[in-house]
Symmetry: C2
Subunit: 326 residues, 2 copies
């Protein structure tokens, strides 16, 4: 019997930063680092940079022969083809065969999926849904990402692009999304960007109403400042979270009536708002469900650190554990 | 080797009529009949009536020993438990263990799922999605039903109730649904009932505008009369289908961004409107998709007769073919 390979590389390519690490079978991250995602004109230079940073980490645990492979999460990453396709936030345009390029550079099998699916994988294998086979993860960050798990498997769809729940329309004809140019999508409201826009809207629509938020310049108005003001009892700040929770809760109700998950796991920067966001989300979610779905779905915050979840989830693509992706 | 069982019973319990038939392995319906769904105070009497009608059909092809079992589709039918749970349109209230009761009465294994899933099974095995592993069926009848197939399997969710797409909200705060009391659900618009309501709304909102629809009494205003008037060039009647297609198309876009199916198959009475409904539906569907999903999804009408699809799909629950339901 040949020795089991003990390690995997997990890489999470985000719109701004690429995080990567060495992961063992138990989900320990033994080493990690990061590079900017958009500092390289061509993807080959990006891969060279990754290789220069990762090689010492790999050698420190005995070299590539101890590695089962590399797992990557990236925006618009396609599991079937191993390509990143037309990712709006990345510098490399068109279709990028990144899995093949990585395999050639590192001499290790490389598997790819989109960043939100990678987070869902991390949650399933190392997080709070270890015993749950039907769940949805929603990442509330700069944008809104999602990973859908049905019967223990990530839903990829016929072309690998399933699970773009942030772009579903919840307010037809509503707020314009600045990069997709769609109107009324979940992401236009329930993201850090969306919370900021709601703040600007409410402050300009109610010029007569006092608010701590008026002490901040328009550039300082972020989901964090809104949170701080809400915690101090500011009325407008509280209404911003109420409204965000309403939009998110209504959307979650629609998702539940699609796949009837046992749990929905919330990730990402906005979840720092805790109960301020959770309470209205849960209330509007339940109010928009048919009775057969009510009071059944666990709505929870992820227990994993966000950066860890992405690295762990990406690495999980290459472990030879029961199939969790098709 | 024991002889293969050659036949199955397929039963489709609808809100008004229960249709049933004897099906062979090739999908031929050898005999069929129907009884009213709500003429029996207790479910045992309903089963007795079914048994009286089915027994001669079963005996004609050699008796129960030639049968593999009974498959049933019913509103709120749960595959996991074999029970009909709180079906709003049926007379029997609460949780009805109909699969067990049928098994005892007929001496044949009985499997149950909801009516829309049964239609999706029929489509998958005998219809236009035989070679397609990722699709969604939408039944546009008195209500709006749906069956979701991912990787060749019906999506049931953790509790068996997945796929209630007719109850997803597409116009928050919009039209009141008379039986669910939800506002703005797909079913409130894109059903025969919804088309009738849209007709009444448009006729009362524009009292000055001439329309052939004004020749009908309010009771005669049905999706069929709207269709007939639209075909004669009536402006209001055409706008009714345009609006119905808009709502349906927007909803389909949301569903596509969830599971990225290769096809969406439309069933049911409203599909008789043909291109009058299909054109706006397709236009609004494409307009509300992210570019990575555009011009990819086949939007088609089912080629199966509606009654046949339901009976065939129900019967498919018991065939020992590759697993199509979990």
């Amino acid at each position: 019997m040949s020795a089991q390979k003990e390690y995997a590389v997990g890489i999470d390519i985000g719109g701004t930063t690429t995080k990567f690490g060495i992961v063992d079978r138990k989900g320990n991250i033994l080493a990690q680092d990061r590079i900017p995602s958009n500092a390289h004109e061509v993807v080959e230079d990006f891969i060279d940079d990754l290789h220069a940073k990762l090689l010492p980490m790999i050698d420190k645990v005995g070299g590539t022969e101890n590695f089962i492979g590399i797992g990557m999460g990236a925006p618009n990453g396609n599991f079937y083809s191993g390509t990143i396709e037309y990712a709006p936030n990345l510098k490399w345009k068109g279709i990028i065969p990144i899995a093949d390029l990585m395999t050639k550079k590192f001499g290790l099998t490389t598997k790819l999926t989109n960043d939100a699916n990678a987070a869902a994988m991390g949650e399933m294998i190392y997080g709070c849904t270890k015993t749950i086979k039907h769940f949805i993860t929603i990442t509330l960050g700069t944008g809104v990402g999602s990973g859908i798990v049905i019967d223990g498997k990530i839903v990829l769809g016929h072309d690998g692009f399933a699970g773009e729940l942030g772009h579903t329309i919840i307010r037809p004809g509503g707020r314009l999304h600045k990069s997709t140019h769609m109107r009324g999508s979940l992401e236009a409201y329930a993201s850090a960007t969306g919370v900021r826009e709601t703040a600007i809207e409410l402050l300009t629509e109610h010029p007569e109403e006092e608010s701590l938020l008026r002490n901040y310049s328009i550039n300082e108005l972020t989901s964090e400042t809104v949170y701080e003001c809400a915690m101090q009892g500011d009325n407008i700040a509280n209404r911003i979270f109420e409204f965000t929770g309403q939009i998110l809760g209504e959307s979650l109700a629609n998702f539940i009536m699609f796949s009837s998950p046992e749990a929905i796991v919330l990730f990402g920067g906005l979840t720092k708002a805790g109960e301020l966001l959770m309470k209205p989300t849960r209330r509007y979610m339940e109010a928009n469900l048919l009775p057969i779905f009510q009071n059944k779905v666990k709505l929870i915050f992820s227990e994993l650190k966000e950066a860890d979840a992405a690295i762990l989830g990406a690495s999980a693509l290459v472990w030879d554990i029961p199939p969790v992706i098709r």
